[in-house]
């Protein structure tokens, strides 16, 4: 039984990683073929860094992710504070609306936002599909994640603290920044990081709201349709390396934190 579970776990991980390793291996292949090995090379990496389209897409992706994550974090945090102190039925309605983008299939969210932008563009002549619509769309699908990661921190907080600060002479704004905000910072950071990664990773919603603007996932998609360029393997390898380093770093930090706490 022990042996069986080990073999089984190994096979599942093999299934999950084999395709990624195939991509990585062929990113160093000195031929356009994706099945025959023709020697070691870095040329696809060189070509990747000279590919203006990809570099543009990368900078678009990062700009959109930073702006929409920041905006979503600010609006989402304010919203969470408001929801937390509102009456039961208001809270219920707003939480239900918050859940809509999370429960809906991505393609429906994408299509509905596309209809909205087309409608606004036709009626008012503003919001041509592009960076602005992408930021608006990304901010919208990030918002629920911020609200849902800040809410639990607010619930854990002792509501008397805020009142105590006010009794001691803080005005409401000062009481919020001095007392409430420090308590909920971890939730805010989690929400912002989730928004940032979701925004970078998003393809489906961007696909319907981007017009001709390219983000990295959209550029990847158009590359896969051409089916020839090994540059895409090089790109996957780089992204895999970055993700691996980040996750290992995060985990090492967590283990360190645990050790410190145990001491």
């Amino acid at each position: 039984m022990k042996l069986f579970s080990k073999i089984y776990t190994f096979l599942i991980f093999l299934f999950l990683y084999a395709p990624i390793f195939v991509l990585i291996t062929f990113s160093f292949n000195d031929s356009k073929s994706r099945s025959v090995w023709a020697g070691f090379t870095f040329k696809w990496y060189n070509q990747l860094f000279q590919n203006q389209e990809i570099l543009n897409a990368l900078s678009n992706t990062l700009i959109i992710a930073v702006i929409s994550a920041l905006l979503a974090t600010i609006l989402g945090t304010v919203a969470a504070v408001g929801i937390n102190s509102s009456k039961k039925w208001t809270r219920r309605i707003i939480m239900n609306v918050t859940n809509i983008p999370m429960a809906n299939p991505e393609i429906v969210t994408g299509v509905s936002l596309m209809l909205l932008f087309v409608f606004i563009n036709r009626s008012f002549g503003i919001l041509k599909p592009g960076m602005t619509t992408l930021i608006l769309a990304h901010k919208t699908f990030c918002l629920p994640y911020v609200v849902l990661s800040v809410m639990p921190k607010l619930r854990q907080m002792d509501p008397n603290l805020y009142e105590a600060a006010q009794d001691l002479g803080c005005n409401p704004l000062k009481a919020f920044f001095k007392v409430v905000l420090p308590e909920i910072v971890p939730g805010i950071v989690t929400g912002m990081m989730m928004s940032f990664t979701m925004s970078i990773d998003d393809f489906v919603i961007s696909y319907f709201t981007s017009g001709t603007t390219q983000t990295l996932p959209i550029a990847i998609y158009s590359m896969t349709r051409k089916m020839v360029s090994p540059e895409i393997n090089a790109l996957s390898t780089l992204l895999f390396g970055i993700i691996l380093t980040l996750l290992i770093a995060i985990n090492l930090r967590q283990i360190k934190d645990k050790n410190v706490k145990e001491r």
Binding site: S33, V97, I107, I220
Partner: protein, 271 residues
């Protein structure tokens, strides 16, 4: 009063970017291109019932396969030592962080006619097998992309089960199979339910996986919607009607699933 001011920006934002777009989908679904009311669009979705059924069928099969191979995996991970558990979880999450486009692209290169598997088969003297552009390839792509979404929620539930409950069942004379069927499985039901929803919803509404691995012949609902909005068959009214039906389909599925879930968690509360 003050609360209303704090909530106003968020409420207005959600109204404009969530509620209004949903209403637009509804509006487009029930009007024709000149804006007149019609139920023609909804009716003509019937013409594509084979596509709808195929999506449900392939999404359903993928969900079941994910459950069958994901459950043991979640169970084995929950039985590992604490350190190994966190390593296993990180290993599960790394592929999830890679763009699903790249993961699917990887399978394209493996399955294609001159791909790794076929080259290997011809080395062995067996002829080439058509792997890509089949329904099997779509199911494989779905299982590959969504398997972690099945394993993680089941693991979370299994890991929380109090071992003394299992010991108690054993003390009372239950054999291994009985312990599993009567204790572990019912207690892990909430995880199974959320796993099923987390796999089925994206699987049934996907349009990239079918396009990349299924070729043009195996259209799914997602492809159909995409074609009406960005593809050759531009018709946002029909596209909205299909989206509306997809939404209702998924609402029904999650509704049924939540039914199971709430009953079970109520039972759990009494314990």
């Amino acid at each position: 009063m003050k609360n209303r001011i704090i909530l106003a920006p968020y409420s207005i934002w959600m109204l404009i970017f969530v509620i209004v777009p949903m209403c637009l989908v509804g509006l487009f679904a029930f009007t024709d291109s000149s804006g007149m009311f019609t139920i023609e669009n909804i009716l003509s979705v019937g013409m594509y019932s084979n596509v709808v059924l195929r999506s449900i069928w392939l999404g359903g099969i993928s969900t079941i396969i994910c459950l069958i191979i994901g459950y043991p995996m979640a169970y084995f991970i929950s039985k590992m030592s604490q350190g190994n558990q966190s390593v296993a979880l990180v290993l599960l999450m790394i592929p999830m962080w890679m763009s699903f486009l790249l993961r699917t692209y990887a399978w394209m290169t493996i399955l294609e006619n001159n791909g790794l598997i076929n080259n290997f088969l011809s080395l062995l003297g067996i002829g080439k097998v058509q792997l890509i552009n089949t329904r099997g390839a779509i199911v494989l792509g779905m299982v590959y992309n969504f398997l972690p979404y099945m394993i993680l929620p089941i693991y979370t539930v299994l890991e929380k089960i109090n071992p003394s409950i299992i010991e108690a069942a054993q003390d009372l004379g239950a054999n291994r199979l009985k312990v599993f069927l009567k204790v572990i499985l019912p207690l892990s039901l909430p995880g199974i339910i959320s796993g099923i929803t987390m796999v089925f919803v994206p699987a049934v509404s996907t349009f990239i996986i079918s396009k990349m691995l299924g070729g043009g012949a195996n259209l799914l609902i997602g492809d159909l919607i995409e074609m009406q909005f960005l593809g050759s068959a531009y018709n946002p009214n029909l596209g909205s009607a299909i989206s509306l039906i997809l939404m209702i389909l998924i609402m029904i599925c999650t509704g049924i699933m939540n039914q199971f879930d709430s009953e079970d968690s109520n039972g759990g509360l009494i314990v």
